[in-house]
Amino acid sequence: MMRFLLLFSRQGKLRLQKWFTPMSEREKKKIIRDMTTMVLARQPRSCNFLHWKDLKVIYKRYASLYFCLAIENQENELIALEVIHRYVELLDKYFGNVCELDIIFNFEKAYFILDEFLIGGEIQETSKQMVNRSIEASDMLQEDDISEWYEVELFG
């Protein structure tokens, strides 16, 4: 399973944090510090895999954001890279040419999208379209809050 996913900027500012195992605030802060230090110190053309304690850390830089995913030792690193890429694609589709600012100002949406893609450190949906449709439907439900509930049929 995946243990945590962090997004941070080139200056080490945290943009998103998703933890899949319970941890104290102090532990989380320490991990964030360790990850940012380790990842930001990497040479530009190194391989995307690191070892940290008993976990494998897969990181990839997209524009000004670093995506940092920690997986357990028996997991497949190469597919983890694909997981990161898939998440970026989902964000891109939703925001339209996503950039860091989108994630800063709409962080809660970034979480909603993530929660339609992963649950408990595992992938729940492998189809991009399905995830997008779920998010759109949920967004519509938010708008309808002003009036009333109604069911949204999902075709698929």
């Binding site: 979480y111 408990g120 492998t126 439900l141 938010q142």
Partner: protein
């Protein structure tokens, strides 16, 4: 009260802060506003406020006062509220806070909500942060949803079930019925999460695993699904770079791995599909390689046929040639795992692996280094070592220690010749000399000593290395030791292997003295140099210079050096006659056996802690013998069979007395730990390599041993020491051995000497001389005022039942015994 500012407004404002302090001020102000808003139980803006709180939490500020508010949001009817509420719960709450249990009821209600997106929120939250209590309470609801036909909910329920099982493994059973037709779903989301659920169950319970193998026939189902994925045409919904749903493929391969492990039938059933995936998957992009990687892992783990295994390793070999670093890294890691089991197959890729040593990426280099060492064998040692040494030269410091150790180990195991071995070690010492482990110094010394024919070559090379660089301590230590030992070979220009260099005694002493004064030398190194200089006093002709150096260091601040110098000084002054013997060439040392003697001899003249730490012989003797007072040792009335001292490990005794030093040296096996210094060390050791106490071998000081009697299978040897402080007392130890097939019992040895002498006979070690030279009886005779010694001896014993008696005269005492 004005409406609280919007989330985006807040974010914008905070981002304008120019300093940390400014930001903190803004945050505090907003938090205060939010707090008062919460106090007012404002429903309208609760969602907005919590969202802002979550943002501030991400910046690192405390947000715990929002926890209860999250719960209130979750309980709200509005979807927007629930969305933020659940998000807040996942970010701010965890199982450590009791407050989280309040969520349980809300989640339960929402799991039964009429809107699937609300149900989805509940499932997601439960699946991410549900505590064991929550899981226990809600497992039933999850199980219900696992059976629903709504694929949107089913997939979430499956992952929720996975989380429940992880938290409360006992609940696994209850999900079993629901898994029955999970794999007949068409929906990929459900398929994927189902495979994850099945994987979790199989990993956790061998019973489940067996059940799924046999009863459910899981393998054929999975094979079918995988086949469809590969064979089916382009599916836009799941396509990634031309591959259909790689995530699902990888998960299926992983489950197959678990099912096929240690199970022949299952492994056979998946053989074909694995071969198909391995050969047909497109490898131009990372996705394809991810699938291949998983396939390789599966092939290696199950009971696959050899053809398939070779295919897998070849895939890894191709990976090694891939431009993509990540793939090279993954290949090296996998090869490292398989190198033990499929050694020959991996060997075929050796040259590619060695090339990876030159990669720029640190992670790849490390893997390549580990793998290279695993691949070294007798056949490829020369080539491999060349590459590894080149790597050692150029690698980062973080690698050097491990690489050096690896090189030493490999050289030790597979060295094709002694010269090659020494050259290799020299190379390591000169290039990575400061990174080698501490124990390599004594190991190397031992190696050098044993390569007798290489002594001249070795000392010459080491000397030249010293001229270049004296900063690397292990190198300097080994070099000084060698120069001390073989300095004579150095100046006499005897080298055969290469052009002998011309060096004078003074030049050598200059170098060694240079080490003593240099700031670069560690304390240990200085000790080595001083001792080396001392040793050269017997090998070089010009002793005066050495005497001067030694006497100077007699007042050194460094206690260790001072002690050594004082003792060596004493050696010059009072015990000059012993000096040649004491400083003789070292004998060949046995590698650490369980026998102490040989190891301890290494301390002769040296007191390096690392060497002295070697084991002692089994201390059969009474520990009291360890006392530094020699008289005690000599006067011990009970001459116990093994009259060995257990050599104290302390490098030097506190007193600094030369005698103590010599006493410490006693090579166990010397019958009495007297100042008798081992001249006949070499023969002594080489003989005495057995685990027996070294009675039979004699180490007399300047007095050679002799055979006093040898008849009818009974042999009696005399060994001599000079007692101190009284030089007029000769201490003779008799060693009686029996080469017949039967023990000699009731053995009594009596001796008589002319009246001018005084004789004291101490108790024998035993009355039984064991047969077939299995042991000796010893007895100590002290003779006062020995002139030309003569002795009459009477022997009585019983052999095979019959008593035997014999008289003999011993005249062949060596002249030294009375001088």
């Amino acid at each position: 009260m004005p409406a609280p500012i919007r989330l985006r407004e807040l974010i914008r404002t905070i981002r304008t802060a120019r300093t940390q302090a400014e930001e903190r001020e803004m945050i505090q102000k907003e938090c205060a506003a939010i707090r008062s808003s919460f106090r007012e139980e404002d429903n309208t803006y609760r969602c907005r406020n919590v969202a802002k709180l979550l943002y501030m939490h991400m910046l690192g500020y405390p947000a715990h006062f929002g926890q209860l508010e999250c719960l209130k949001l979750i309980a709200s009817q509005k979807f927007t509220d629930k969305r933020i509420g659940y998000l807040g719960a996942m970010l701010l709450l965890d199982e450590r806070q009791d407050v989280h249990l309040l969520m349980t009821n809300c989640i339960k209600n929402d799991l039964n909500h009429s809107t699937q997106y609300v149900q989805g929120l509940a499932l997601c939250t439960l699946g991410c942060m549900g505590s064991s209590e929550m899981c226990r309470d809600l497992a039933g609801e999850v199980e219900k949803l696992l059976k629903t036909s709504n694929s949107y909910l089913r997939k979430k329920a499956a992952l929720c079930a996975v989380h429940v099982i992880r938290k409360v493994p006992e609940l696994m059973e209850m999900f079993l019925p629901a898994t029955k037709n999970l794999l007949s779903e068409k929906n990929h989301g459900v398929l994927h999460t189902s495979v994850v659920l099945l994987t979790e169950m199989c990993e956790r319970s061998p019973d489940m695993l067996a059940h799924f193998r046999k009863n459910e026939k899981l393998v054929p189902q999975l094979v079918r699904i995988l086949k469809n994925l590969i064979m089916s045409g382009y599916s836009p919904e799941h396509d990634v770079s031309g591959i259909s749903d790689p995530f699902l493929q990888v998960r299926i391969l992983r489950l197959l791995r678990i099912l096929g492990k240690s199970d022949d039938d299952s492994s056979e059933a998946m053989n074909d599909i694995l071969a198909q995936v391995a050969t047909n998957t497109e490898t131009s992009k990372n996705v394809g390689n991810a699938i291949l990687y998983e396939t390789v892992l599966t092939i290696m783990d199950i009971k696959s046929e050899s053809g398939l295994r070779v295919l897998a390793i070849n895939i890894l070999g191709r990976f090694l040639l891939n431009n993509d670093k990540n793939i090279r890294y993954v290949a090296l890691t996998s090869l490292l795992k398989t190198v033990q089991t499929d050694h020959n197959a991996v060997q075929r890729h050796r040259s590619t692996i060695v090339d990876c040593l030159k990669d720029l990426d640190v992670s790849i280099k490390r893997r390549a280094m580990e793998l290279s060492f695993a691949l070294v064998n007798g056949n490829n040692i020369r080539g491999m070592m060349k590459e590894l040494l080149y790597f050692l030269d150029s690698c980062d410091p973080e690698f050097k220690a491990d690489c050096a150790s690896g090189v030493f180990l490999a050289a030790e195991k597979y060295a094709p010749s002694k010269r090659w071995h020494i050259d290799t070690i020299m190379r390591v010492l000169t290039t990575a000399g400061s990174y080698v482990r501490d124990d390599s110094v004594p190991n190397l010394i031992q190696l050098i000593t044993n390569s007798v024919e290489m002594h001249a070559y070795t000392v010459q090379r080491l000397y030249k290395a010293l001229l270049d660089d004296i900063s690397q301590q292990p190198l300097v230590q080994v070099a000084s030791w060698c120069i001390g030992e073989y300095g004579d070979l150095l100046v006499s220009g005897q080298c055969e292997e290469e052009e002998p260099i011309q060096v004078t005694e003074d030049e050598v002493l200059d170098v060694l003295e240079g080490l003593l004064v240099s700031n670069l030398s560690a304390a240990v190194t200085r000790g080595y140099s001083l001792t080396a200089i001392m040793k050269l006093s017997t090998r070089f002709s010009g002793v005066n210079r050495i005497k001067k150096v030694v006497s100077i260091y007699g007042s050194s601040i460094d206690v260790e050096l001072q002690q050594r110098a004082v003792e060596y000084n004493a050696l010059f002054k009072k015990y000059d006659h012993m000096r040649p013997a004491l400083l003789e060439r070292m004998p060949i040392m046995e590698k650490s056996a369980s026998n102490g003697p040989t190891e301890i001899v290494q301390t002769n003249g040296e007191t390096e802690p690392s060497v002295v730490d070697s084991k002692h012989p089994p201390p059969v003797s009474q520990p009291a013998n360890q006392a530094n007072d020699l008289l005690d040792l000599l006067g011990g009335n009970d001459v116990v069979p093994v009259i060995q001292t257990t050599v104290p490990t302390k490098p030097a005794s506190a007193g600094g007395e030369l005698l103590d030093l010599l006493g410490d040296l006693s090579l166990s096996g010397v019958p009495t730990p007297a100042p008798s210094v081992a001249t006949s060390q070499p023969s002594f050791l080489l003989d005495g390599l057995s685990s027996q106490p070294l009675f039979n071998d004699i180490a007399a000081a300047a007095i050679p041993p002799m055979t006093a009697y040898n008849k009818n299978g009974l042999k009696i040897d005399f060994t001599f020491e000079r007692a101190n402080p009284n030089p007029n007392v000769a201490v003779i130890t008799i060693h009686a051995s029996n080469s017949t097939e039967a023990d000699m019992t009731d053995f009594v040895f009596q001796a008589a000497v002319p009246k001018t002498f005084q004789l004291q006979l101490l108790s024998p070690s035993s009355n039984v001389v064991p047969a077939l030279n299995q042991g000796t009886v010893t007895q100590v005779i002290r003779v006062l005022n020995p002139q030309k010694l003569r002795m009459r001896i009477k022997l009585t014993y019983t052999l095979k039942g019959s008593p035997v008696q014999d008289l003999a005269e011993v005249n062949n005492f060596p002249p030294q015994s009375w001088q």
